[in-house]
């Protein structure tokens, strides 16, 4: 059974596909928007670039995709890895451009990074260190305070503190990785985070949930 990268017209899917291939050469990676292919997959990667709203509307536009993803995540309980806006879509609501409903798999909202007195440059762009908040299996072989590549202006906020597995610091503490059972997501781009990022992707591919 393949690993599917969900293609709904968002940004640089090819990088994610190539990084997964580099992480594990033996697995079959498919890039797809076909709900029936997603149903048959073992694991999925949900990438996302651009705005929360555009990404969600992009998914919604593809017939049956939202139902297929909900079924995959909530009922089949198979592993999903959301990257950047892909992770943000796990939230109930996003506030980028207009209020937009998300998947609501994790109780949270997505808001603009708190930039008091405009002291921070936005997007938060570049390499920042992540700090582990708990011992989490997908981080195995990755050192605490490793550098990962971030590029975003909006952040995930949640009251479900137990779901926060890593943070980073940019003005305030920002969620860098979130996890709940079979659901995992990172604000940073593992496919652009060199060795540490590839290791994380490999761990996800090896994950026996």
């Amino acid at each position: 059974m393949p690993i599917a990268i969900v293609d709904y017209g968002s940004g640089n899917i090819r990088s994610a596909a190539k990084a997964l291939e580099a992480a594990n050469k033996n697995l079959k990676i498919v890039v797809t928007s076909d709900p029936s292919v997603i149903k048959k997959s073992d694991k999925i990667i949900l990438p996302g670039q651009g705005s929360f709203r555009d990404c969600y509307l992009g998914i919604k536009k593809i017939n049956g995709l939202i139902d297929a993803l909900n079924d995959f995540v909530l009922f089949k309980k198979k592993p999903i890895f959301g990257i950047c806006v892909g992770m943000q879509l796990f939230a109930k609501v996003g506030y980028e451009s207009k209020e937009t409903i998300g998947f609501g798999w994790i109780d949270g909202v997505v808001k603009k990074i708190n930039n008091i007195n405009k002291t921070l440059k936005l997007p938060h762009m570049g390499w920042n260190q992540i700090e582990f908040k708990k011992d989490y299996m997908l981080f195995s072989g990755i050192e605490n305070k490793s550098h990962m590549y971030f590029v975003h202006s909006y952040e995930f906020l949640t009251k479900q503190k137990d779901c926060i597995v890593a943070t980073t610091n940019y003005g305030n503490s920002i969620i860098a990785a979130i996890a709940k059972d079979n659901i995992f997501g990172t604000q940073f781009h593992p496919e652009k985070s060199q060795k540490n990022g590839l290791k994380l992707l490999k761990n996800f591919l090896d994950w026996k949930f």
């Binding site: 940004g11 090819r14 990088s15 990084a19 670039q49 997007p123």
Partner: protein, 252 residues
């Protein structure tokens, strides 16, 4: 803490690196893919390709270069040069570029910045500006490799493109480019303080101290250089170690 980025830039023409390089261990010294891989291994934070292919029929060669690079380098890749339309941007992103830098087209058609940042996200739209000092505290945008004046004030323009959705500014001083005298720190600092998006300093690096000045005095978020890395004068790691020794936060 967010680190300052070191970005080596390669000029690419018809799929080959233009400026000479002398890394002996390269299989093919003129191959941008090989060179990008070396920079990645040395710890570059991003890689930048500037396509200077002149003829239109050869313009698709860069897509192939980007594709091959994206298969081997897992750090961000910015590609610029001759980007004119939404379709040009889409083609580069689909080939594997993470960011696309727009230069002349951003001046001729401001809609392109707005439209492309709405379509693909601000994070992948870099506006590249070639600036020349025209009098005290005044810089003007030039195009065509610094030959053609536009009459546009740099400081006004950067504010404008920020409001249109640009995610980053690549700021090159045409007065300093190729001189090895260091960045135009005055210009870099003015732009950096004026806008709220990241600024990449470019043009004039001849020593590691110049990189330090770009960040420390110029307040740049990232520093771009070409020749000091190409000619093997310094490795990326050396640059980072130097900056680290000066107290600049870098990823080592």
């Amino acid at each position: 803490m967010l680190k300052h980025r070191i970005i080596p830039c390669l000029d690419v023409k018809n799929g080959r690196i233009v400026k000479g390089i002398n890394f002996v261990d390269l299989v093919d010294a003129g191959d941008p893919v090989e060179q990008a891989k070396i920079y990645d291994e040395q710890g570059a934070d991003e890689i930048c390709f500037l396509d200077i292919t002149a003829s239109n029929e050869n313009r698709n060669i860069i897509l192939d270069t980007v594709k091959k690079t994206a298969e081997k380098c897992f750090i961000p890749l910015t590609v610029g040069g001759g980007v004119r339309t939404i379709q040009d941007i889409r083609n580069l992103l689909l080939a594997g570029a993470d960011k696309v830098s727009i230069n002349t087209a951003a001046i001729n058609n401001k809609n392109l910045v707005k439209e492309s940042s709405e379509k693909f996200g601000s994070q992948c739209i870099v506006v590249a500006i070639d600036a020349k000092k025209v009098k005290d505290n005044k810089w003007e945008i030039f195009t065509h490799g610094g030959r053609k004046a536009t009459g546009i004030d740099v400081l006004k323009f950067v504010e404008k493109v920020e409001s249109l959705g640009a995610g980053e500014i690549l700021l090159t001083s045409m007065d300093r480019d190729g001189t090895k005298k260091g960045y135009d720190l005055d210009l870099t600092k003015k732009v950096s303080k004026l806008i709220n998006i990241p600024v990449i300093a470019s043009g004039g690096v001849g020593s590691l101290e110049h990189l330090h000045q770009g960040i420390k005095i110029g307040k740049a978020n990232a520093v771009l250089a070409a020749s000091i890395f190409h000619f093997g004068k310094h490795s990326i790691l050396e640059a980072k170690q130097y900056l680290d020794s000066k107290g600049i936060p870098v990823r080592i």
